[in-house]
């Protein structure tokens, strides 16, 4: 038994996302005038070989803080899914 950690890393709202801005401009040019903004983040799937949900959660949180996200300018969220 293991857990699949679905991790999303996003730039803090206060940080300018130039990639997202370029995408939003492209959408505007395509005629999507109601698409007000686009922000680009990262999606990481990690398999955590742990039986225990709490332990898997702890590891997920730790890897985000240590490596996957930069706390100065990024936020993260983790969703755990049980897999066999």
């Amino acid at each position: 038994m293991a857990y699949k950690a679905k991790i999303r890393v996003t730039l803090r709202p206060s940080i300018l996302d130039v990639q997202g801005k370029a995408v939003q401009h492209a959408l505007e040019n395509l005629g999507y005038s109601t698409v007000d903004s686009a922000r680009i983040g990262k999606y990481i799937e990690a398999t955590i070989n742990e039986e225990d949900h709490v332990e898997a959660e702890r590891i997920g949180d730790e890897i985000c803080r240590k490596l996957l996200a930069n706390p100065v300018m990024e936020d993260y969220s983790i969703e755990l899914e049980k897999i066999n």
């Binding site: 730039l11 300018l16 130039v18 990639q19 490596l67 930069n70 100065v72 300018m73």
Partner: protein, 233 residues
């Protein structure tokens, strides 16, 4: 001590390591050592330089994976002892990621990779890196980066200013810090900062690419000379 050993860290993806070695070796009284990222030994370095490039392909975030390499554990210990550590461009990103310096670097404001000479003003010449420059001296140094937009929360910026840790700012040729001169959009036009103890410096411009007039500018040489003088005492 009559010679200064300058250690240059080589990560997979470093691409300014040999330029840095060339610049460092061009001064008398220096020997250079290339320090592979998997090593644990700084080989007697008196100064450690983290060169520019794309360490680990800039995967995840620039500098994020390099900070866990074996050699970086040694560099952090070396820095904590007050020994000189200089991070250039990607090296600056690594120093921020490993916590020796505060803040982060994000993508340039105008989405462009900037590759040109820029004017940089010396804000603080009371460091071992900048002692041979005059205060407010304007240097012409090349930059080459896509992620050089310095960011830190306001509280951190205030603290950097208060402790005179802002060492370089982008400016125009006359030394005026203007929005136009701050090409990458850095907060407070910051081009380089030090730690509070002033023995760790990170900057986006490349002093090693401005180490002789043949390269278009020799404004970077005094940084190397200053460090060498500092070590020799």
């Amino acid at each position: 001590m009559d010679t200064v050993t300058i250690g240059i860290v080589v990560f997979p993806g470093s691409n300014c390591d040999h330029d840095t070695e060339f610049a460092a070796a061009s001064f008398s009284k220096t020997t250079t050592r290339m320090l592979w990222h998997k090593e644990h030994d700084l080989q007697g370095s008196d100064v450690v330089i983290l060169p520019g490039g794309f360490s680990y392909g800039d995967y995840l975030r620039a500098g994020s994976i390099a900070k866990f390499s074996p050699i970086m554990q040694e560099v952090v210990t070396f820095a904590r002892k007050g020994r000189p550590v200089l991070g250039i461009c990607n090296g600056f990103q690594v120093l921020l990621e490993c916590g020796l310096l505060e803040g982060a670097l994000s993508r340039n404001r105008d989405k462009k990779f900037i590759c040109r000479h820029m004017h940089v003003k010396v804000e603080n010449n009371r460091t071992m890196f900048t002692s041979l420059y005059n205060e407010n001296e304007v240097l012409s140094l090349p930059v080459a980066h896509g992620e050089g937009n310095y960011y830190a929360p306001e509280k951190t910026i205030d603290s950097l200013e208060e402790h005179e840790q802002v060492v370089f700012r982008y400016s125009d040729a006359e030394g005026h810090v203007t929005e136009e001169a701050n090409l990458n959009g850095s907060v407070s036009a910051i081009a380089g900062i030090s730690n509070r103890e002033k023995n760790v410096l990170g900057l986006m411009p490349h002093p090693e690419r401005a180490s002789e007039t043949l390269l278009g500018s020799s404004d970077g040489s005094k940084m190397f000379e200053g460090l060498i003088e500092h070590v020799l005492g």
